[in-house]
Amino acid sequence: MPWQRETFKKIKQIPREEYLLPGTSLCAGCGGLEALRLATKVLGGNVVYVNAAGCFTLLAVYPFTPFHGSWLYTTMGSAPAGAQGIRDALDVLLAKQRLPKEEDLKVVVLAGDGSTYDMALSATSAAIYRNLDFYYFCYDNEAYGNTGVQLSSATPYGARTSTSPCSLQHPAGSVREKKDLFEIWRAHKPPYIATISPRHPLDLAEKFAKAGKFTGPKLFLALSACPTGWGYDPAQTTEVARLAVETGLWPLKEAINGQVVHTYVPKRRPVEEYLRLQGRFHHLFEPTRQEEAIRHIQGRVTAYWEQEVAGSRNEASH
């Protein structure tokens, strides 16, 4: 059976209500913020967001918050443990009838890739292990963005960051491969994991609706096109986000109890089209074209899809 959307077939079906209001201090064209805005439309207003240090920490700046729901800033390394404390306390208070049922909240961790891929990996692993009933929303802009775009373990091969400069010694920028967090999460066998993109709102909304049916960890990786960190005009966020998916670099998929399904199969445009738009890859093309590095990136993408297509019949039809 190909993957099909059941709840969100047309863009008009996405709720018009806004639960994340504009006017925040985030950068213009933030892909992560758009992904979160779409997610909140499905999550609704009865939510407590548990935040880790990162760009989104600047969403709630005293005395303002853009959310309809509640907010708790924790630390960079322990937002999932904060979610544990809140969920447990809500359960205890509900059980002891100190809190009416209608006051219950969804608990959503909100963290960037620096926290998610690096510092909070242990806390996340433990939360999944305990089968904590929570959502995890990672806005992955592939670097420590809020501190000035330094290398994180989500930074892809070939990207220049402020701690992986391109130089004579390292002409390609970072030569480390992006950590495959989807697979690390999947090894824990949580009920629901998905990758999402703000450029695919129906896919995104459908996944949050689907995740809501499961009790336990529901984890999302949102590739968050980042004009500030990636070096492109904020108006191009949708195009950069679109090409990340269309080149096959960011596969849209989900895993239910560990079973992976690709929710969109791109025609796979050359990765070069995606790379060329961004300042962080500029050195791969100017002043001389680094053919080997570009071929390496294309090769990884091609190998991924050949393996996935060969290994699975569960592809979406679009």
């Binding site: 548990v50 708790l72 630390t75 443990a81 404390g85 447990d88 205890v92 208070l93 002891k96 692993s125």
Partner: protein, 409 residues
């Protein structure tokens, strides 16, 4: 007639949490704290305590879960020790800033490196400026009683800050002493159910907690609020102590004086080794020395007025720090010295001794050395220190170890 039961400091701590009727216990094991969380795990499991017990992946996560649950409206208890407290250090500051009134028991254990198991107070004093209040207990009974008082103080709306109750590893944690358990019904009158007006996440009343501030002015405001709240705890502690004494007959002050009435020279100590200090005072008095002991019980807020009152007019004061700030000396010595600076009747000499590091014993002979050096300093009008307490025998044994390790003497 109250019944004494023999119990360890750890079990007394667990009983403190149980009698406080806590809702939530996030836990992570570390020697010498483990017996506390083991007892609570057992009681939560068999229903004797209506609380949820959850094991976390680190003390950092444990303290985050503890703070978040308290922010949601649950009464929370947890415990750690030594490296665990340091691992949680970031979170201590964070959740104190959330103004959540939970109680954390720290079982003191000296810090690595070199790694060791027995107590000193560098661990708990590393949290000195975190915003947690600190009560340091001398006996197993005081551990239990202080936990009940800690909830009462923490949850008072003039305070709204978390509290650390400290006990020494091994000397209290694993030592059985006679302890009286207050009756549960009486505890309820002393400590009403936790129903915070200012905290709680719920659908009908969203709130944002721990939010960022831009600029130093709002930051200074909130930090100053914490300072004022912590200072309020001096008064709130005394009210709680009075109620406690009325109910159970045991009176706890911010500081405890021992044979101070006519003392010329005073030794300042804290925690379980103060019992050794009191024995040292008794011994010195049989030799004709007019000495006494001041035990620091509440370390945060710093009870400056009580310390000044107890020490003004003395000839000489010695502070025995069971901690060491390398490059400076004893930590509490600095605080006592700062307190006495403006006292017109301040002692003629202040002496700083550092002892009991890593649980090293302090013998009666060492106390005698302290008293004689402190007296001489007072007569001279000039303090000494920091002086490390170390006996000849210990030095010889250490030289033996160094030789085995290949160090030439």
């Amino acid at each position: 007639m109250a019944i004494h039961e023999m119990m360890t400091g750890n079990l007394a701590a667990a009983w403190g949490a149980r009698l406080a009727d806590v809702d939530y216990v996030p836990a992570f094991p570390i020697t010498p704290q483990t017996e506390i969380v083991e007892a609570l795990a057992d009681w939560c499991d068999n229903g004797e305590l209506a609380a949820r017990f959850v094991t976390l992946d680190s003390e950092h996560s444990m303290m985050t879960a503890a703070g978040a649950a308290a922010a949601t409206g649950a009464r929370v208890f947890t415990a750690t020790s030594s490296q665990g407290l340091l691992y949680a250090c970031e979170v201590l500051y964070t959740i104190a800033g959330w103004r959540v009134p939970l109680v954390l028991v720290n079982v003191s254990r000296a810090l690595a490196a070199p790694i060791t198991l027995e107590p000193d107070h560098n661990d708990v004093l590393s949290a000195r400026d975190s915003g947690f209040l600190q009560i340091h207990a001398e006996t197993c009974q005081e551990v239990l009683d202080s936990i009940l008082m800690a909830y009462r103080i923490a949850e008072d709306e003039r305070v709204c800050l978390p509290v650390i109750v400290n006990m020494d590893g091994f000397y209290l944690s694993f030592t059985r002493e006679p302890v009286i358990k207050p009756a549960q019904e009486q505890v309820r009158t002393f400590l009403p159910p936790y129903r915070p007006a200012h905290l709680g996440f719920k659908a009908s009343a969203p709130q944002a907690l721990g939010v960022a501030v831009l600029g130093g002015a709002p930051y200074s405001h909130f930090r100053h609020q914490m300072h004022l709240a912590a200072s309020n705890a001096l008064e709130v502690h005394q009210e709680a102590a009075a109620d406690f004494a009325r109910l159970w007959g045991r009176r706890y002050d911010l500081v405890e004086g021992y044979r101070l009435e006519d003392a010329e020279d005073v030794l300042v100590m804290s925690n379980a080794f103060a019992t050794k200090g009191k024995a040292g005072v008794d011994e010195a008095r049989t030799r004709g020395r007019r000495v006494g002991l001041l035990r620091l019980r509440v370390i945060r807020p710093w009870p400056a007025a009580s310390v000044a009152r107890a020490l003004r007019g003395r000839r000489s004061v010695a502070v025995l720090d069971q901690n060491l700030a390398p490059g400076s000396g004893g930590i509490l010595f600095q605080e006592v010295a700062a307190t006495l600076y403006h006292e017109p009747g301040r002692p003629r000499a202040l002496c700083s001794f550092v002892g009991g590091l890593g649980g090293k014993d302090i013998t009666v002979a060492e106390f005698e050395a302290i008293f004689s050096q402190t007296q001489a300093a007072g007569e001279r009008g000039q303090g000494i220190g920091p002086v490390l307490l170390y006996t000849d025998r210990e030095r010889r044994e250490m030289e033996g170890l160094l030789t085995i390790a290949g160090n030439k003497q």
